[in-house]
Symmetry: C2
Subunit: 201 residues, 2 copies
């Protein structure tokens, strides 16, 4: 699949490609800084410096800091997960969601996004608002695909447990959770997820 004349019309010129590369460099720098320093301490200036560009270019591409955060701190896994959930037996839903959550937290590409969202939301009201939007949308979409019995409560409870595991295992590193294998953690939390997803509340 060579990309020659078949490129979509929107991708026209060499400059476009260069632009998009710069944009991706800025996004990667922003993601890393939101994850490590949190929303508050990641600034246009520090992100621009890490990406080797002028701060004005960050604003040009992404608009406000909130827009930048919203854009780069997304989790790509959700739509794939909705498809997955629709296809497994009801008795396996808890395990599947536990695997999805721990898989996202173990994956070096997505762990910084999840931990950065939690870290930012815990320390800054505007970031909390952005994370709240994201969590509500993502989890409601997931749980809405499974049940119409109190889906919002179920989503919030599962979400709370995922956030708690993330903080305790990956941020504060409380033993024995911190050193367990991913499979052990999944075994321990899957029954709780099954309860929150499918049993009477």
């Amino acid at each position: 699949m060579s990309s020659t004349a078949n490129d979509k019309p929107a991708r026209r010129t060499g400059r476009r490609v260069g632009t998009s590369h710069t944009q991706e460099q800025i996004a990667a720098a922003a993601r890393a800084q939101f994850a490590e320093a949190g929303y508050d301490r990641a600034t246009f200036r520090s992100i621009a410096a890490a990406a080797g560009v002028d701060p004005a270019l960050v604003v040009h591409f992404f608009g406000s800091k909130a827009d930048l955060f919203r854009e780069v701190m997304q989790l790509p896994a959700v739509s794939a997960a909705v498809v997955g959930l629709a296809e497994v037996p009801r008795s396996e839903l808890g395990r599947l969601l536990a695997e999805l959550a721990i898989g996202t937290l173990e994956n070096p590409a997505t762990q910084p996004v999840v931990l950065g969202r939690i870290r930012s939301a815990s320390s800054h009201a505007e970031a909390a608002e952005l994370v709240r939007e994201g969590v509500t949308r993502d989890l409601s979409q997931l749980i809405g695909a499974i049940t119409d019995d109190r889906p919002a409560e179920r989503a919030a409870l599962v979400g709370a447990h995922i956030v708690g595991i993330a903080v305790v295992r990956y941020v504060v590193k409380v033993e024995p959770l911190a050193s367990m294998s991913a499979a052990e953690v999944i075994d321990l939390i899957a029954p709780t997820f099954q309860h929150y997803l499918t049993e009477p509340l």
Copy 2:
């Protein structure tokens, strides 16, 4: 019970009493700043300013920043809770622990301590270390009073769920958890706590 000649030898003079009052003012200021600004942004200087004393006095009374954090961010409820847990039927343990956790989070005196610990631990490695010590000690003590079947795993799982509820309900304020009554939240999480405390893992 007037405190005259019966004072312990260590509490001798008027100056002593004044000293202890200043110490308590510094502790209150430190607690408020750790809770709101987090470990990182709460400094000897800012705490001293809020308490109306010289920064050197904060160091004099409390030593290092870590010592200060450890001293003022303690939860008094734990020893009382251990007594309580020993006295209820096994089938009520989950509900009792849920009531204890939500009660601590709803209480205006202890909520800032819990949220400040989570906020600080999420944004600063040294604070994470201090919170890890505290969580491990407090929860192990609680769970150790109930069972000797994998108490450390049980403590970490319950702890993770409490931390998650705290972040989602009180910090990020995800609905419908944020607006529920405390009693509703307790009803929803008590079965999970019961599972983690008393059922096979």
